[in-house]
């Protein structure tokens, strides 16, 4: 295992310490409780927006804590959902009296732990709404699965919803916008290589030199199918087509296009994928009104990429454009 780490069991703790040291102007890290809280939280009268999940997806979610996005994040062990105690602590830390939104990616572990946390928060008299993201079209016939996974849309949703929450909008409206973003977004990802969970020490799956996985999640789970390596243009086609179809995009639609790297893929390749995606959408007369290109929701050092498209309207565009100031995303201030 080749990683810049110390003891595997200290990876999350030390990465959190590094974030604290680098971003003390924006966030407060509670290493003990394992939560990252916006420095000025709780903000009276503002809905608190929190999220969380396993670590290994950096910058998600801790890198999105700050003005105009998340009020707190709960990092679990690598690829393992955090525990209800963390979510409860985060919920309490950001509750400014207007209630708290839990942004939950649809994985059994995340859903069950956030569910328990919401029960505890309710018991403490804190109003909580939960929104579950499930944008991964690689997971089909969700009646026969735990349901589509929450992946790339989660990042965009946290930005857009955080923008609305900053205006002082009530919890119900914030939750409603969150559901709307989730409904308007779809994603699909692929891997050129596997990744190694530090405490495991060997790759989660083996891939031949001439193979790739299509339809992977963000936890090094094997994908839906293994195929021979293909060109960036072909890969982009494989990812974009099901996304476009599942979302029912039509000529004239405007989208927010997000080309995401899985952690080990350099920016130069992501721009090649974005170029291919741009051609595909242009050919269908679908306009990329906004875009995000970079590694924002990763699987440790996995090489690969995912494509997320969100259908935009004025409301979504407005809150995407709204100022944000977090360690990983910043504009407008």
């Amino acid at each position: 295992m080749k990683k810049l780490i110390n003891r595997p069991e200290d990876v999350v703790k030390e990465a959190l310490a590094g974030m604290q040291a680098a971003h003390s102007d924006l966030i407060r890290v509670d290493i003990e409780q394992r939560i990252i809280v916006r420095k000025d939280a709780p903000i009276q009268g503002k809905v608190g927006v929190i999220s969380g999940g396993g670590s290994g997806h950096e910058p998600m979610h801790g890198g999105f804590v700050g003005y105009g996005m998340l009020d707190a994040a709960c990092p679990g062990e690598v690829f393992t959902s955090p525990v209800p105690d963390q979510m409860l602590a985060a919920t309490k830390a950001v509750n400014g009296g207007a209630g708290v939104l839990h942004v939950v990616k649809n994985y059994t572990g995340d859903v069950l732990n956030f569910e328990m946390a919401a029960e505890m928060a309710a018991a403490d008299g804190i109003e909580v709404e939960s929104v579950v993201t499930n944008d991964d079209v690689a997971v089909q016939d969700s009646t026969w699965t735990a349901g589509r996974r929450g992946v790339g849309v989660t990042v965009l949703l946290e930005k857009i919803v955080g923008g609305l929450a900053e205006t002082g909008a009530p919890l119900a409206q914030v939750a409603e916008l969150a559901r709307k973003v989730n409904n308007q977004g779809r994603s699909m990802g692929m891997a050129l290589t596997s990744c190694t969970v530090p405490s495991v020490g060997k790759p989660t799956f083996e891939l031949g030199e001439d193979e790739m996985e299509i339809g992977i999640g963000i936890h090094g789970e094997p994908g839906r199918r293994r195929v021979k390596l293909a060109s960036a243009a072909e890969v982009t086609e494989m990812l974009a087509t099901p996304v476009i179809e599942d979302l029912g995009l039509k000529a004239g639609d405007q989208v927010l296009a997000f080309v995401n790297g899985m952690g080990g893929t350099p920016l130069i390749e992501l721009y090649i994928v974005f170029d291919a995606l741009h051609r595909i959408l242009h050919g269908k007369n679908i306009t990329i009104a906004r875009n995000l290109v970079g590694s924002y929701i990763t699987s440790l050092e996995m090489a690969g990429a995912s494509i997320t498209l969100v259908r935009l309207d004025d409301e979504l565009t407005r809150y995407w454009d709204a100022p944000v100031h977090t360690p990983a995303l910043r504009w407008g201030r």
């Binding site: 062990e77 525990v83 572990g109 026969w144 735990a146």
Partner: protein
Amino acid sequence: MTNEDVLHWLERTADVMRENRAYLTDLDSAIGDADHGINMDRGFSAVRDKFPSMASMDISTQLRTVGTTLVSTVGGASGPLYGTAYLRAAGATSAKQELAPADVVVMLEAFLGGIVARGKAQTGEKTMVDALTPAVAAAKRALDQGATLAQITSQATAAAEEGMKATIPMLATKGRASYLGERSIGHQDPGATSSWLILRSLAEICAGQ
């Protein structure tokens, strides 16, 4: 069984989870995210830290302690699932100083009930439930036939092992493995395996009786 026996059971479980940390994680690598063994070992290591204080607790309090500890240290799907299982088991044994064979069966039923209540899985979905459901049924049968606690728990373990093996050909429809679709077939479910280990630890303790 006494609170001392329960403590032995939990100690045995903690050791077994450590011994099988890599095995459970390998199973999870094939159809999950390679952390089940790590999760279970982390949770039961936290439980181990509480053993000193647990000697003086009654059975129900011991089980409640395990439940809350697992909930707050395991994470993942198995944390809330096993956590709820032990919490329900605690509820089913409250105020009991000793567990008669019938009480143990009631406890196991509650254990399974907690997992089903939390996870909403049915048998055949390639989860813990596929090991625990036949195990509880076998335990009941043995009890009705007037078997001893040793027989009840060993027959429950045997049924759990069968149920665990039966998950191999199953298509997962719950949990992370379900994302694999057809590719989940041919692999043994990690959670069903940890459930079997929990029961086997119980049987080993009761074998003494």
